[in-house]
């Protein structure tokens, strides 16, 4: 595939991420936790509507969406500062809403005006009110950056110091960004399942498989941190390493399908010192189930050889793009013709991301492009030297998919034509759902 220079435009149309305060959903993703948005009403609502609603229609959960307490900043708070209003809101929220933990996420106004959120929240903390704050003004970056801020705030201000013993076999998992990743709920359940399968005890920390703040309190006790992402969570793991002396294992490829998942489990098992017999027994059991389905699917795959796509494009964040590309190449034998990374990963991680894509398989290497602007992405897909027959992208890419007569599988924010509940695309079970989705789209083209 030919290398195309990364194109930069002065604007971002059809955005594929939220702003830093979108990380209020990091709090929503922790059971029993309620965010308090220190921003204007528009900011809170927009992040919810985009990241949660028109993205798989995930539902607002216990403390998100319409239940989310918000300062609703007005001109008065701009001119005179919003400390009093925030204090009032925290007071009222703790009275009205039952929660194990409140997380104040600040927006641009509060951060620019210079509200002293630390001291307002600090006063409550002194009275043992479970509340923390994170500075997530939009100008600080996107919701990926905001997520790491929120996580570190909870660790530093709520979980606190720990110098007791570590629990062998307990692992903290830092992986997909909740809500931003349309399938995070199902994916995290599957990641937890497979890691438990090889004998580990898993702090999955977010979603329906998480034990909420009680689980977070055990973060410092974990034997190690597992960063299962191209880059997100690395700064958290380094922070925990410095704070609790915890080592971390970085696995950039979220495993999809048996090949990736099996090697992932062996790598983690070896690192954790898990019983190899248990690891292999679990793998054997999972693979036997997995391949039964694959065997049955192979009839369709062979019969429909003329209708299945061979070339694909991926337009999503770096972690899911890598996971999907690896799976599509190594398990399905498809050829990547265009990979566009859309989450604006920090500069320092880009070479490592590029390097991962150079090693998709022994004989497959891809040059990725980092693009955030919807128009430029559309042009890159439309003018791709080799036309993709299927695009793993977002709702934004439907128009260009139609124009170039490609199928589209929505795998990323915004996925507004997908209703997602517990569906996962990772691990053993998720891969089967992913295959179902890919080939349902393919076969539907002739309907």
């Amino acid at each position: 595939m030919t290398k195309q220079p990364s194109m930069k435009s002065e604007s971002i149309s059809r955005a594929r991420f939220g702003c830093a305060i979108g990380a209020m959903h990091t709090a929503v993703a922790i059971p029993g936790t309620v965010p308090i948005a220190d921003c204007g009403p528009g900011c809170a609502d927009k992040q919810y509507i985009s990241l949660v609603f028109y993205n798989g229609f995930q539902g607002s959960g216990y403390g998100g969406g319409a239940s989310l307490p918000c300062v609703n900043t007005t001109e008065k708070e701009v001119v005179f500062g919003g400390n009093d209003r925030l204090r009032e809101l925290i007071q009222a929220s703790t009275k009205v809403m039952k929660a194990d933990l409140f997380v104040v996420t600040t927006g641009c106004i509060s951060d620019i005006v210079g509200d002293d959120v630390a001291s307002v929240v600090g006063d409550f903390q002194k009275k043992n009110v479970p509340v923390v704050y994170a500075e997530t003004g939009g100008f600080r970056g996107n919701n990926f950056i905001g997520h790491e801020e929120v996580v570190k705030s909870i660790v530093d201000q709520y979980v606190g110091g720990y110098d007791g013993p570590k629990e062998q076999g307990l692992v903290n998992v830092w992986t997909e960004l909740p809500y931003q990743n349309t399938f995070w709920r199902g994916d995290l359940i599957e990641i937890k399942r497979i890691l438990e399968g090889i004998g580990l005890k898993v702090n999955i920390l977010f979603g329906h498989g998480s034990g909420g703040v009680e689980e977070w309190k055990t973060v410092p006790k974990a034997q190690f941190n597992l960063v299962l992402h191209t880059w997100l969570g690395l700064s958290v793991a380094k922070h925990l390493q410095a704070k609790y002396g915890q080592p971390f294992l970085h696995v950039p490829v979220i495993p999809v399908g048996s090949i990736g998942t099996t090697s992932f489990l062996r790598e983690v098992g070896t690192y954790a010192g898990a019983d190899p017999k248990k690891v292999e027994a679990f793998i054997k059991d999972e693979e036997s189930k997995y391949y039964k389905y694959i065997e049955e699917f192979s009839e369709f795959y062979c019969e429909y050889f003329f209708g299945v796509p061979s070339k694909f494009a991926v337009v999503t964040d770096s972690a899911y793009a890598l996971a999907i590309t690896k799976f599509a190449v190594n398990n399905l034998g498809l050829i990547p013709v265009k990979v566009i990374i859309t989450e604006d990963p920090p500069e320092e991680h880009r070479d490592a991301i590029r390097e991962q894509f150079h090693r998709i398989a022994d004989d497959v290497s891809v040059e990725v492009e980092f693009i955030e602007d919807g128009f430029v992405i559309e042009e890159a897909l439309r003018n791709s030297e080799r036309r993709p027959a299927i695009i793993f992208g977002t709702t934004w890419d439907r128009d260009v998919a139609k124009d170039i007569k490609a199928g589209i599988v929505e795998v990323s924010f915004p996925a507004s034509y997908e209703v997602v509940l517990s569906r996962s695309y990772v691990g053993y079970r998720g891969a089967l759902s992913f295959i179902e989705k890919i080939f349902t789209v393919t076969i539907s083209a002739s309907a």
Partner: protein, 292 residues
């Protein structure tokens, strides 16, 4: 169609004598028969003190803090010779956004058409020191003031603040903002002070409107909580302000200045520094000659 109100913004580095100059100018304009308002745009809210016997008035923002809706008449107070005095005010130091406060206060007056209602001839905005953020630039944006004057001494930091203001004026001038009327040279007692300011205005394509000498009459008047016009109407200093008022009342054409780049400004200041040192040496030599 009503008459066109002349709206003037006066800027300058903090402590340079901006409020003193503005208040005396306002008083002189009023004395000359114009209906004038002085609008203090500084969170310190002491711009109009000498027009009201040294007293403070409730500010627009103090009033807005208490209630959501404010009738602008509640925050207009009359001072010497019927001059209308307004103080925008600001948040407590260290909190909130004073710049936005100025915008809020000015907008409140515009929305309620108070200037027209009071049938004003001239409004003078006395704006806090440097143009630190967009809020303090609001009087020079489109639809507020037409003319800007800066009060400056020959002190480098004061010239630097004026140059910054010129930058603000040139950028807003592209979207119909206020233009520069000129520099009001303040505390000009030494011959070299005049030369420095003259050289600066020449390089930045503007003019000196008036040279105002440092005077003890000003201090004496301010200690009584009054302007020179009120406290010492017969003094020479009062006549200087009257002369300034006359020029400002007659002023019609403002221009876009050509501010210096910071590096050029530093070189320029350096050259003047050397020149002044030489002057000092010569004076020193002269003094020692006298001693001998």
């Amino acid at each position: 169609m009503g008459k066109k109100i002349k709206q003037i913004a006066i800027y300058g580095k903090g402590g340079i004598g901006k409020s003193t100059t503005t208040s005396n100018l306002t008083a002189a304009l009023s004395e000359a028969g114009y209906k004038v308002m002085q609008f203090g745009c500084d969170p310190k809210s002491d711009s109009t003190n000498t027009l009201r016997g040294g007293t403070y008035i409730p500010t627009v923002l103090d009033t807005l803090r208490e209630k959501t809706k404010v009738n602008a008449h509640e925050v207009v107070f009359q001072g010497f010779n019927g001059i209308y005095c307004v103080e925008a005010g600001g948040p407590a130091p260290g909190v909130g956004c004073a710049g936005r406060g100025i915008i809020t206060a000015v907008q409140l007056f515009k929305q309620q058409n108070i200037f027209e209602e009071l049938d004003l001839d001239i409004i003078l905005y006395d704006v806090l020191g440097d143009v630190v953020c967009g809020g303090f630039a609001v009087p020079i944006r489109e639809g507020i003031a037409q003319h800007v004057f800066t009060v400056s001494s020959s002190d480098f930091m004061s010239i630097y603040a004026s140059n910054n203001l010129f930058k603000g004026i040139s950028s807003y001038s592209r979207s119909g903002g206020a233009l520069l009327g000129g520099v009001i040279a303040n505390s000009i007692n030494q011959p070299y002070s005049k030369e420095i300011v003259d050289d600066f205005v020449k390089r930045t394509n503007t003019q000196v409107v008036e040279y105002i000498p440092r005077s003890v009459t000003v201090t004496q008047s301010e200690l009584q909580g009054k302007t020179v016009i009120e406290a010492a109407p017969e003094s020479a200093q009062a006549d200087v302000y009257r002369s300034l008022a006359k020029k400002i009342a007659a002023h019609t054409e403002s221009k876009v200045p050509t501010p210096l780049e910071v590096s050029d400004l530093r070189v320029w200041a350096g050259q003047w520094g050397k020149h002044l040192l030489e002057l000092e040496k010569q004076n020193g030599a002269a003094e020692s000659l006298i001693k001998v």
